[in-house]
């Protein structure tokens, strides 16, 4: 076990394209760090550089006390779990797991002991004689995990290990990975594009966009205090509603954000938390509202100054809650970040300027809303997010803005 330190890590290809730019990450000993981002954001490239499967163009990677830039993968003492599992098709489960140990010339007895212990933990004991082709997807995935675990390496590198499993199994395996990592206490870097996996697994989560690290921190911090539109939109599901609104101050000194005919009054706490917001009075800001910070106004007592009026466009009953889609007459936020987000979801042609924005609210199942009905939505104004409309940076205090 060891810490893993990336300093100024960069990857540039011969044709000038860059996969990773100036990546600084300090992964503590025993930490579970999740690298998350849309496809093509450089997260897998970064992982492969840590593994030694990709050459390093700039910067250094240190594992423990050792700079490993020029160390071949076999000598880095890290284990990797591949998205495709990459099991040796000609070897049975036992030999697949034992492969790395036999190469290290470990005594047969020790190998046997370790393989059987790992197999037990992963519930593979009954399948040790089987070839990979005779295993189910979940079993194959566990063999891939076992192959990494049995070596007790300095660090685990996992490249979307769950993306080939069906939804139910994925949730199970997610819990198993979390438990296993906690029990072994091995430094782990986990790459995924699934923000649920990132939030549930990571001690810390690092969000990347186009090869550049956006923010790294505990999942809750990313959720509560995203540094820019990209992180705000990427973390959380359904994603944060982002649209342009005007920040105004009335004669009583109250601050409001106005859109369409509605206005939301900002509580003192918001202005207190975000001193830099004062500079935006009279200007447009990008307002962010998480779906879970909305509620059917009929179910809330105190709604004054916190209402949006619209017509329910689409109602999705999820059982545990209801997702209500409704249009508001506000311009969608359009920055580099939101375009990157739209690209990721494959909806880059949907949002058009001037057409308004469709918001999604997560209502309690007690709401009696139905499609086509007028809807008044209460917004938890203490949990609003604000971003600069030009740069997409979150508006907090002076330094950040």
């Amino acid at each position: 076990m060891a810490e893993l330190v990336l300093a100024g890590l960069g990857k540039a290809y011969g044709d000038g394209t860059r996969a990773v730019t100036n990546l600084d990450l300090n992964i503590r000993d025993g930490e579970f760090l999740v690298l998350v981002g849309p496809s093509g954001c450089g997260k897998t490239t970064a992982l492969r550089m840590m593994a030694g499967l990709e050459s390093i163009s700039e910067g250094t990677i240190r594992i423990g006390e050792r700079v490993v830039n020029d160390v071949p993968p076999r000598d880095r003492d890290v284990a990797m779990v591949f998205q495709s599992y990459a099991l040796y098709p000609h070897l049975n489960v036992y030999d697949n797991i034992a492969f790395g140990l036999t190469l290290r010339k470990m005594p047969k007895k020790d190998i046997d002991q370790r393989v059987r212990r790992v197999a037990e933990v992963l519930e593979l004991s009954d399948h040790l004689d089987r070839k990979p082709r005779n295993l189910s997807g979940g079993q194959r995935q566990r063999v891939a995990m076992g192959r990494a675990m049995v070596r007790a390496p300095q660090a685990f590198l996992m490249d979307e290990p769950l993306s080939n499993l069906d939804a139910k199994l994925r949730v199970q395996m997610r819990a198993q990975i979390a438990r296993m990592q906690r029990d072994l206490g091995v430094t782990t870097v986990y790459v995924t594009h699934d923000q649920t996996e990132a939030m549930t697994l990571g001690d810390r989560v690092a969000v990347m966009k186009r090869g550049v690290l956006q923010q790294v921190g505990p999942p809750q911090e990313l959720y509560d205090r995203p540094v820019n539109l990209f992180v705000a939109g990427f973390i959380g599901s359904p994603g944060m509603n982002l649209f342009v609104a005007k920040l105004v101050e009335d004669q009583d000194g109250q601050h409001w954000v106005t859109l369409n005919s509605d206005a939301l009054r900002l509580p003192e706490s918001v202005l207190h938390e975000r001193p830099a917001l004062a500079k935006y009075v009279g200007q447009n800001v990008v307002l962010g509202i998480r779906p879970e910070d909305m509620e059917d106004a009929a179910l809330v007592d105190q709604v004054e100054g916190a209402l949006l009026h619209s017509v329910a466009d689409l109602v999705e009953a999820m059982g545990s809650d209801i997702l209500v889609h409704f249009p508001v007459d506000a311009e969608a936020a359009d920055t580099d970040d939101t375009r990157a987000l739209a690209e990721d979801s494959g909806a880059d042609d949907v949002a058009g300027a001037g057409k308004g924005t469709v918001l999604v609210g997560r209502f309690s199942p007690r709401s009696r809303i139905y499609e086509g009905q007028q809807v008044a939505t209460w917004v938890d104004t203490s949990r609003l997010h604000f971003f600069d409309p030009a740069t997409g940076t979150a508006i907090w205090n002076e330094e950040i803005s």
Binding site: P73, R74, F82, A86, L87, G100, L103, P132
Partner: protein
Amino acid sequence: MTTVLSHEKREVRVVDVPVTGSPKRGPLTRFVSNLGNGAVQVGLAVVAVFWLMPVFGLLVASLRSEQANTASGWWTIFTKPAELTLQNYAELAGNETIWRSFLNTVYIAVPSTFLVVVISALAAYALAWIEFPGRDWLTVTVVGLLVMPIQVALIPVAKLFGALDLFGTIAGVVLFHVAFGLPFAVFLLRNFFTGIPVDLVEAARMDGATEWVVFRRVILPIAKPALASLTIFQFLWVWNDLLVALVFADQDSAPITVALRSQLRQFGANIDLLSTGAFLSMAVPLVVFLAFQKYFVQGVLAGSTK
């Protein structure tokens, strides 16, 4: 939204919906799936019999005396089965020239096949999985050599062998076969190797494997079917070769193809010796084929990646 049900007659449009489900099957797929069909089996049997006719004729001829062979065709055997005799084989067993040439063929074919398979597997691994400058050009060059006809090289190589004292030796013949067998072998194996998921190679490297271990313990076992087909092809080519041996081998190093050819006469041939010898020379490749056939397994990669 509410929908008002109306009882008025509405025009129903028939829309051409593309048929989903099983995709359109090609003629080959249809043929293969019909293999169990009786008519197809009969058809195949007819083709097989037709195809085997000359071989059968050769076998029968080798079992008839020289007189019988010159007097009538082999098919007369159906009416006169008594003509069958093992005498030709007895004579063959005593013919030293044929035996020596048979051994020569073995001495030529075995090393030629072995060397080609070993060298091409190593080369193909490097071309497929190891990055080094000029790799792509080297690959293109090797593939380009495929179009080089053997005949072009006969005279220059003969001169070279003369200078190196290799002319007329088994080693010379082997070298020539290896040289001309390699381009195809490398091409075939490299294509197979690149079809192996890169993740497997990388997983092995992560597991602590050196390139040699990756090659020996991951790639080679997976590549068994390709290696088996290459072995069979290469062995057959060399075993049946006449031209190269005719040019480069001398009396003492001549393989069986050359020895049998020398039995041809302007009028007819020593049919008794020829047919038995030919049958002997056919038997060995058959054994090789059957021995390696078990490696033709489908789906070697199954279960390895997703």
